[in-house]
């Protein structure tokens, strides 16, 4: 394995005032430069794990180190090393794409010149230049997803967390997003990605982990897992490992 970007050791976590344990003695390493896919059925703990890795949730037992920094104890300035693209649209729909990027750029600590340069670059790459001054509430779902992604990568993060970044978008937007993410990865950004789109995952990820009920049930390269379990596609593998029971 390459140098780890993320090391999770002996992590334990449960939601206050809620029954059940989310994670207990949970361990995981994600190598720097990987395109890491985190999969599992509904309620498996994917989003919780992502929220723990990004500091949105705090843990009291165990350790999560992001490029050597303990997430729970680091100063907020360390947040500049990673980017986060949440599943929900996380921008201000009353503002335009350009205005949103300017605002978030400032919060990432970029100066005016950097914001201007990066905004133009991202709007161009993600095909939003012609609509950059229109308020986002009039955008289509695909355009909103691309803006959501642009905000997350505004500051050239070393690690990028993506929680279902392509849900509800058309083929063209999905293609643009996946293409852009691969480019980002080639330039050195580690991707940590969750999705229910297994075909897309197969296209994007070079390493996957399946989690269920707060435990890792498989962790390897995609080819390695398929070979080991004798399947040709992700979906058969997923069903074999997690079962066909509904998880609502």
């Amino acid at each position: 394995m390459t140098n780890p970007a993320i090391i999770i050791q002996q992590l334990a976590f449960h939601y206050p005032r809620r029954e059940g344990i989310c994670f207990k003695n949970f361990n995981l390493e994600i190598g720097a430069g990987e395109r890491f896919g985190l999969f599992g059925p509904n309620g498996a703990g994917k989003t919780t794990l992502m929220n723990l890795m990004t500091g949105l949730l705090t843990y009291s037992t165990g350790s999560i180190r992001l490029l050597g920094h303990e997430i729970n104890h680091h100063p907020k300035s360390i947040n500049a090393i990673f980017g986060f693209v949440p599943q929900d649209f996380s921008f201000y729909p009353e503002l335009s794409a350009r205005e949103n990027l300017a605002f978030y750029g400032a919060w990432y600590g970029l100066d005016r010149k950097q914001i201007k340069y990066r905004t133009d670059e991202l709007l161009e790459v993600l095909g939003l230049s012609s609509v950059s001054d229109r308020v986002l509430q009039h955008f289509s779902g695909g355009m909103k997803r691309r803006v959501n992604l642009a905000i997350g990568v505004m500051h050239h993060p070393k690690v990028l967390f993506l929680d279902e970044p392509t849900v509800g978008v058309d083929v063209q937007s999905r293609h643009a997003i996946i293409h852009y993410l691969k480019k980002q990865n080639e330039s050195g950004t580690t991707l940590v990605y969750t999705s229910h789109q297994l075909e897309e995952a197969a296209e994007l990820c070079n390493k996957v982990a399946l989690i269920d009920d707060g435990k890792i049930i498989a962790h390897d390269s995609l080819d390695g897992l398929l070979q080991k379990h004798g399947h040709e596609g992700m979906e058969e593998l997923f069903l074999e490992l997690t079962g066909k029971r509904f998880r609502d």
Partner: protein, 426 residues
């Protein structure tokens, strides 16, 4: 600093694009102030300029009933409609509604005889030990049916009592006149000269009303001086609807999730909201005061006279606005939904306004509420404004009120900080 600047720019743009929000923050308070001032002004004028419609049924066939009617007319407070054609079956209520009368007075048939008998009796008692007058045998006055005053239920008790007092004083004039006439006849064996009678009855010491003020001016306070500052405070605090809702919306949106993962503190966002909405409250006050000062005279309302201590006015407005914004943010932090924020925010401001003396003057409140009202920031803001607008005071006269307002603001801020920590927002 750049983060704060970018956040302020963002908040201002969102605010300016929310037309409904702007309407609620600016047009509604202006409308409220105009309506409340107009209503209160009509009450002022009802007493001072307008006449109250009064229906009089005089059942008395003697002189005293007619004299009472004349005495009431002379007061000049009433627009009187006299009905001589009263029959027992007359429905006074129907007549009042038909004539649009607020008050009706029924003078009983025995009114003259009662007044005369009472005068005879008093004169008899007064002159019993006198050598100059023959002592007559006591005559018990015949008790009449009482004077009946019917009133419209919309009349407030204080207003009703004021009318009753006016009518009572007219009756006393008639009664006094009868007594004086009787005494004079008994003493001098001739009728009292009209000039002397007038001199005795109407040479009362006048009462001059003088409004006090710290500045020494004797400007009579009008409805605008009372209402514009009070309802401006209310409007400033009503920003809870807009700001509280914005806070909840932002908290429940993905944008807030993203902000929490960014390198800067959420306190930047809070500070920006405080600055932007403080400007809004200052602008609200400036617009309302300007309308009161410049536009009110054109729409038939008395002009709002601004205090001489403009620095004091600015400071009170600034701290009141800051308190209003702090309260709105506090509500926004603790509320989980827009419904909670709007519902609690609106009703709590109404309660604080009632406690603060905006609806009923604080001096008229029951004793147990006199202490509770001190928790209302609106009370201290109102006291500060009244110190400037009504009493002509300066900053040094109201600094205790300002300190109290600041203290409450600080407590609200601390409570907000606790909420932010408790909800893992910072």
């Amino acid at each position: 600093m750049q983060i704060l600047k970018a956040t302020i720019v963002k908040d201002v743009k969102i605010l300016l694009r929310d037309r409904v929000g702007l309407f609620i923050m600016f047009f509604m308070p202006i409308l409220l102030v105009i309506i409340i001032t107009s209503v209160q002004n009509s009450t002022f004028e009802l007493i001072n300029n307008n006449k109250i419609s009064l229906l009089v049924y005089n059942k008395d066939s003697g002189d005293r009933g007619v004299q009472l009617v004349e005495a009431i007319r002379k007061i000049g407070l009433f627009k009187m409609q006299l009905s001589d054609s009263l029959s027992p079956s007359h429905d006074i209520t129907a007549q009042m509604y038909k004539n649009d009368a607020l008050v009706a007075l029924v003078i009983p048939a025995s009114f003259s005889s009662f007044i005369q008998n009472k005068a005879d009796d008093i004169a008899s008692h007064a002159l019993r030990d006198s050598d100059s007058a023959e002592v007559k045998k006591d005559k018990l006055p015949v008790l009449p049916d009482s004077l009946l005053m019917y009133y419209h239920p919309v009349m407030q008790p204080s207003f009703r009592q004021s009318i009753e007092g006016t009518l009572r004083s007219s009756v006393q004039v008639i009664q006094g006149e009868a007594i004086v006439q009787k005494l004079y006849i008994e003493a001098n064996q001739k009728a009292i000269p009209p000039d002397l009678e007038k001199e005795i009855l109407f040479s009362q010491l006048p009462i001059s009303e003088i409004p006090v003020s710290r500045s020494g001016t004797r400007t009579i306070p009008n409805a605008s001086q009372h209402n514009v500052p009070a309802w401006t405070i209310f409007a400033m605090f009503f920003i809870v609807i807009s700001l509280g809702g914005t806070m909840v919306r932002e908290k429940n949106r993905g944008s807030f999730i993203r902000l929490k993962t960014l390198p800067a503190s959420y306190l930047h966002a809070l500070l920006s909201k405080q600055i932007v909405y403080l400007m809004v409250t200052l602008l609200q006050a400036a617009v309302i005061f300007a309308i009161g000062n410049k536009i009110f005279p054109f729409i038939g309302l008395p002009a709002l006279h601004l205090p001489k201590d403009i620095l004091g006015l600015f400071l009170v407005t600034l701290i009141t606005g800051y308190c209003a914004v702090s309260y709105a943010i506090c509500v926004g932090v603790f509320a989980n939904t827009g419904e909670q924020s709007n519902g609690f925010g609106a009703i709590s401001i109404l309660i604080l306004a009632a406690l603060g003396g905006l609806i009923v003057p604080s001096f008229a409140m029951p004793a147990h509420l006199q202490n509770i009202l001190r928790i209302s920031p609106l009370h201290w803001a109102l006291e500060s404004y009244y110190g400037l607008f009504l009493e002509g005071g300066k900053l040094r006269d109201i600094w205790m009120n300002i300190l109290s307002l600041l203290g409450i603001t600080l407590l609200i801020q601390l409570f907000t900080l606790y909420g932010l920590k408790r909800k893992n927002l910072i």
